[in-house]
């Protein structure tokens, strides 16, 4: 089989080029996704200040919040500091997925990075899979850092059974997936990269607040928790409590028990909603370009 073709162009230049080399779409997707994931992670670690501050933020918040509110969840020996560890695990995960993606994609859209990628034969899905890789890596780091601090400073135990490890794992993956997809969709909302952080921070902070990240869920009104119950973050926080805090704590929840199927359902629905919104709203070029 010949691997090159010779043709003559209009002006007499003889063109020798490889005949169409075909790679199976699946292989092309895997190759491109790995390339994207590698470059995304590489770029994340290259901006060292971003790494330090991303990982430090939830830890610093944890230390501050835990120092303000002392005491125990009513009728238990579980400290509010320990509740904060679970809340900030959820908040930190949402921040590395939703907030970071929302802002970084808005940026790439404005600076032309997305347009350039869209001009290459990169399978479009590879871009999103690359984002999933970088979110996974940063989330695992953030969760690990928080767990280490939570364990040594505030006495939060690592999951005590296989079942609890499983809960910890799927809450992280499913919650992270939902917030990633919603973050991709949300990247279309800000009008410019400069406004992205401001635009996305307000709803995100409100959501963190009513989902029990900054204020323990036991101190929030029923209405707030019900509103927060529409979104995945409250259920992620509850999921982490169910994986890390003693079982009797569940009596303090509004439903008085940890319902894993309900948590999974809400997170799952947001995966679907986020995916649909992301597909519908995603733009590879800046809308302001004439």
């Amino acid at each position: 089989m010949s691997t090159t073709a010779v043709s003559e162009s209009a002006n007499g230049r003889v063109v020798v080029r490889p005949t169409a080399i075909t790679i199976s779409p699946a292989r092309a997707l895997v190759k491109a996704s790995l390339a994207r994931g590698y470059v995304e992670v590489l770029q994340f670690f290259r901006s060292r200040d971003a790494v330090v501050f991303t990982l430090a933020l939830p830890v610093v918040l944890l230390a501050l919040l835990a120092s303000i509110l002392s005491g125990h969840v009513q009728g238990t020996n579980v400290t509010y500091s320990q509740v904060y560890v679970t809340g900030l695990l959820a908040g930190g995960l949402a921040s590395t997925s939703f907030l970071n993606l929302g802002v970084s994609i808005t940026n790439e859209r404005e600076n032309g990075g997305l347009k350039r990628l869209a001009g290459t034969p990169m399978p479009r899905a590879a871009y999103f899979l690359g984002k999933v890789v970088v979110v996974l890596v940063t989330s695992v780091l953030e969760v690990a850092v928080l767990m280490v601090f939570g364990h040594f400073l505030y006495g939060v135990h690592f999951p005590t059974s296989l079942g609890r490890w499983w809960t910890f794992l799927w809450v992280t993956l499913l919650g992270g997936a939902a917030m990633t997809l919603v973050g991709i969709a949300a990247s279309s909302i800000p009008k410019s990269a400069r406004s992205a952080a401001a635009v996305l921070n307000l709803p995100f902070l409100v959501l963190e607040f009513i989902s029990g990240v900054f204020v323990p869920y036991t101190q929030l009104s029923r209405t707030m928790l019900d509103i927060a119950g529409i979104f995945p973050l409250r259920w992620m926080a509850e999921g982490y409590r169910s994986a890390l805090l003693p079982s009797f704590v569940q009596r303090s929840e509004i439903g008085h028990h940890w319902d894993h199927s309900e948590m999974a359902l809400v997170m799952g629905i947001w995966c679907v909603v986020g995916l649909a919104l992301a597909i519908k709203t995603f733009r590879w070029t800046d809308r302001r370009e004439g």
Binding site: N11, R13, P25, A35, V39, Q43, G112, G113, R116
Partner: protein, 310 residues
């Protein structure tokens, strides 16, 4: 002139093609191309063809519809009407295999600044089925000395060369160059022109959008002038607008100071001058209207009269 011999070759090849019944292959074909933004027609019935192997330069004032046209052809924008075929396919439906056959050099952007030049070119090469060697591509655009430097540290001109490297690393049959030398110093422009000529010699078809008329004249086999979303005129740079047949301005230094005369027969005038001076004519110059003169006339800038252009 190099451009001249190329055009002769085009003509010869076209004639030969006719003789053996070979149709010249078009890499770009548009017919009645339309694109509206609200009430404004950015592209208003554009007919444009481009042959394989051709270097075609698209000229036109800002707002003439150049960028929109190019973005439709690149596959970035959807047209509202008309026909467009690029490399035999409808660009707005072109899939990954089609995208692999054309390269796009965009106006400079600021992404991936934390990668090195080599990492970046290698990364983009991974999307193509038959990429060039990334190190070779970096060499071609003259960035070898910078290959391990972070993109953040590159100068504007160096970043522009990186943009070009990313556009050609997939070895495209058809290359879109969008104002490639904006911000280059004269030396960098010359070396960039050499690169474009090399790519053309290797058989790439190149659609060049530029504001620099000397660039179009130096590189293009043919220019197409666009205004108000339509094709105004197309032809080789030295024939555009009947440029060759215009009056020439003959100027020289007479006994009473500089003199000039407009004529269709500059040779005769020069011979007369030679005879009357009996020796070398001081300060002699013979000039035809520049491509810029013709271009300005075509886009309806204040009309030039024969004998008025500089």
């Amino acid at each position: 002139m190099e451009a001249q011999t190329t055009r002769v070759a085009v003509a010869a090849r076209a004639a030969l093609g006719h003789a053996v019944g070979m149709a010249a292959e078009l890499v770009i074909e548009t017919e009645g191309l339309h694109k509206r933004y609200g009430a404004v027609s950015a592209v208003d019935g554009l007919d444009l063809n481009m042959q394989r192997g051709e270097v075609l330069s698209l000229l036109g004032p800002n707002g003439a519809g150049k960028t929109t046209t190019v973005e439709i052809l690149e596959g970035y924008r959807k047209r509202d009407g008309g026909v467009a075929r690029v490399l035999g396919e409808d660009p707005q439906r072109g899939g990954e295999a089609w995208r692999a056959r054309r390269g796009v050099v965009l106006q400079s952007c600021e992404d991936v600044v934390d990668l090195t030049v080599l990492e970046c070119v290698r990364h983009f090469s991974q999307f193509y089925p038959a990429p060039a060697n990334p190190e070779d591509v970096i060499e071609r655009v003259g960035l070898t000395a910078k290959k391990n430097a972070r993109i953040r540290s590159l100068s504007g001109g160096q970043r522009r060369r990186l943009d070009v490297a990313l556009g050609i690393v997939g070895q495209p049959e058809l290359l879109f160059l969008d104002e490639p030398t904006t911000g280059f110093d004269p030396e960098a422009r010359r070396s960039f022109w050499d690169l474009v000529r090399d790519l053309a010699r290797e058989g790439a078809s190149i659609l060049l959008t530029t504001h620099y008329l000397d660039e179009a004249e130096a590189l293009a086999d043919r220019v197409a002038v666009i205004n108000h979303g339509r094709l105004v005129e197309t032809g080789p740079p030295d024939e555009l607008g009947g440029r060759r047949d215009r009056q020439a301005k003959v100027s020289w230094l007479g006994p009473n100071g500089p003199e000039e005369e407009w004529t269709h027969e500059p040779t005769r005038l020069v011979m007369q001058l030679h005879a009357s001076f009996g020796s070398e004519v001081p300060g002699l110059a013979v000039a035809r209207p520049s491509l810029e003169d013709i271009y300005l006339e075509l886009i309806g800038a204040p009309k030039l009269k024969e004998g008025s252009y500089e």
